[in-house]
């Protein structure tokens, strides 16, 4: 097993930086996800690691050795493509055996290793079928077997689950996790699905416009995202710009004014996050952490800090709960909150934002705007 170090890697296509000074390390045997919206440079990063495209700046090291001078066929990697890229004119057996034959592995060893790989990915006996005779899920497993059979130092996966239906995707997620644990291969996994990234990874690298916006283990990135962008991408529905007030209150909270003081929220934090200019921050809270109940109209002080009255603007039923859009005076946008109880549109509700659930986030530097990509 080898670790992968990507340091300061850039790639320019015609008039834009597809990837700009991207750095991260995937420790040996770990599972790292590259997470980001479409076009943010995830595939390009993977292609640079695999050597399918030449990088313009920076360096990639695999197992401590720079690989920039090595062509793809000398890097000993396994790659699984979004469209699987199975060789259409070869049987499943020949597809899986392709890498072994290029390595001049003996006939009998090839047969046993192919069988082993097919077994590992949980494929039934389809060795003599052609790819077009397989279902999407089966093709997916063949692609995995083909990449793993050569015992690669690193496994690169480009959105391998995105072509599968929801049920199969959930199933393959577990399968991927199992296969990665059994083989222990260092894996780099590209996805734009935060749930996939959270469930599979040891480390999540969030990308934005060709750059790395944050990298952390799933739990850390879920609980304290590095920046407003990362929080947004990890499904923090409510994000408001605010300014941190002077001094901490007795209860260990700081007062943050939203929208030039139209509302003040108390946040359980002793200081604003590092690198926030002029104490400008972004407040973030997930919908499920906001408590919603019917408002009795009275100003009940026992509700503690951060009790806001609002009007239900719209709601959607999602099965496990109801998601509300609530207009609150003093906030620049409606709050998204979830509750079990049902309230009609126009109902007066009282929202409670626990000070411990509100995150103080670093606003994104304006330098990361799209114009910087040219």
């Amino acid at each position: 097993m080898s670790d992968v170090e990507v340091s300061g890697v850039s790639k320019r296509y015609d008039d834009l930086w597809a990837v700009k000074r991207v750095s991260f390390t995937a420790p040996a045997g770990s599972f790292t996800s590259l997470l980001g919206p479409s076009g943010c440079g995830k595939t390009t990063t993977l292609r640079l690691i695999a050597g399918f495209a030449a990088l313009d700046e920076g360096e990639v090291r695999i197992g401590g050795k720079p690989v920039d001078d090595l062509p793809p066929w000398r890097r000993n990697l396994g790659v699984v493509f979004q469209n699987y890229a199975l060789f259409p004119f070869m049987t499943v057996f020949d597809n899986v055996a392709f890498g072994l034959r290029r390595r001049k592995v003996s006939r009998s060893e090839t047969a046993s290793r192919v069988a082993e790989a097919i077994d590992l990915v949980g494929l039934p006996d389809l060795a003599q079928r052609y790819p077009r005779q397989l279902s999407g899920g089966q093709q997916q497993r063949v692609a995995l077997a083909r990449a793993l059979v050569v015992r690669p130092d690193v496994l690169l996966l480009d959105e391998p689950l995105s072509n599968l239906d929801a049920k199969l995707r959930a199933e393959m997620r577990f399968e991927l996790k199992r296969i990665q644990r059994e083989t222990g291969v260092t894996s780099i996994f590209v996805t734009h699905d935060q749930e996939e990234a959270l469930t599979l990874s040891d480390q999540i690298v969030v990308m934005n416009l060709g750059t790395v916006a944050g990298a952390a283990p799933p739990k850390a990135i879920w609980e304290q995202p590095e920046s407003a962008y990362v929080a947004d991408f990890l499904g923090v529905e409510n994000l408001f710009p605010g300014t941190v007030g002077d001094g901490a209150a007795d209860d260990g909270t700081v007062a943050v004014s939203v929208d030039d003081g139209a509302a003040v929220l108390h946040v359980a934090a002793d200081r604003p996050p590092d690198g926030t200019p002029d104490r400008a921050v972004v407040l973030g809270i997930r919908s499920e952490e906001i408590a919603v109940r019917r408002s009795d109209g009275a100003d009940n002080a026992s509700d503690g800090p951060n009790a806001l009255d609002g009007t239900v603007r719209e709601f959607t039923y999602i099965g496990s709960a109801v998601v509300y859009q609530v207009d609150c005076p003093g906030l620049p946008a409606p709050l998204i909150a979830t509750a079990q109880e049902e309230f009609p549109v126009g109902a007066r509700v009282r929202l409670h934002l626990p000070p411990g659930a509100i995150k103080l986030l670093r606003p994104d530097a304006p330098a990361e705007g799209p114009e910087d990509r040219q």
Binding site: W73, N76, F87, P88, F89, R132
Partner: protein, 287 residues
């Protein structure tokens, strides 16, 4: 090779849309074939019975007929092989070019279609003549001392037909080359295949359909070409089509001409059959 696909989509395709063309095909292809058979198999003597195969078999008996037959097959094969070997690299190169260059190169490739057979033949006569550019070049390179005959013989026919038919091969290959998913090449590379290995094991098999279409087109067109061999072959190198012309329009022996037509028809059917057999075996995995 396309038959399977056509069959697959046939269900949704309204048959009525195809009827006019199919009818025209029936009238303009089947009817002449029947007339050809009737004429060619007509008995020679008044008392003879229909069908009479003596004329058709006579094509193989006479020296000139035998030679023309051999020459036709030989030239067609040589032209097909040259088109394949020379056209493949060109198609590869064009497929790899950016869109702007590709358009320009494609225009160059189909240029032979835009000039009439007579002008093209005249051009080659000038280039390949005793004092033409080809001979001068070969002499300048020291490959020959005296001009060699390059035109009014088989060489002339081969050069002319290759020039004419090359676009069919290149366009057939280009059609499949451009559809190759680049990830297939990347997948092979990541599995340890060098570029040479990727070419032989991935690119060639993936272009097999285009390769087969190209050879089918070039071979059958080479076999039935008339104007180019007529103009570049001179009188001493008859092939089946020019011999047919001679019988029909200088000897006015329609029966002999029709016999040659039947031989050409048989050759064509034979080639298509062999080709279909080879394709169906080679393409089993393409679905």
């Amino acid at each position: 090779m396309t038959a399977g696909r056509a069959r697959g989509s046939g269900g949704r395709f309204p048959a009525s849309l195809a009827t006019p063309v199919l009818l025209a095909f029936a009238v303009f292809i089947v009817a002449p074939c029947i007339m050809l058979l009737v004429k060619g198999l007509e008995p020679t003597a008044e008392t003879g019975e229909w069908p009479d195969f003596t004329n058709v078999l006579g094509v193989f008996d006479s020296k000139v007929g035998q030679q023309a037959l051999n020459r036709t097959i030989r030239i067609s094969l040589i032209v097909t092989v040259i088109c394949l070997l020379a056209g493949y690299p060109v198609a590869l190169f064009i497929a790899r070019c950016g869109p702007r260059w590709r358009g320009l190169l494609l225009a160059v490739v189909i240029f032979p279609f835009l000039i009439s057979a007579v002008v093209r033949a005249f051009g080659w006569t000038v280039l390949l003549g005793d004092s033409g550019l080809a001979n001068k070049g070969l002499i300048a390179l020291g490959l020959i001392d005296r001009p060699i005959t390059l035109v009014q013989n088989e060489i002339g026919i081969i050069v002319g037909e290759t020039h004419l038919l090359m676009p069919y091969m290149i366009l057939s290959l280009l059609a499949v080359l451009q559809r190759i998913d680049p990830n297939l090449k990347h997948a092979a590379e990541s599995l340890g295949a060098s570029p040479v290995s990727v070419f032989w094991r991935i690119v060639i098999p993936l272009t097999l359909p285009g390769l087969l279409t190209g050879t089918l087109l070039v071979f059958s067109l080479a076999m039935t070409a008339f104007a180019t061999p007529f103009l570049l072959g001179g009188g001493r190198t008859p092939i089946l089509t020019t011999l047919l012309y001679d019988y029909a329009f200088t000897l006015f022996d329609w029966r002999l001409a029709a016999s040659i037509g039947i031989v050409l028809l048989i050759l064509g059917i034979l080639f298509v059959t062999v080709h279909r057999f080879v394709s169906s075996r080679g393409m089993r995995s393409y679905g």
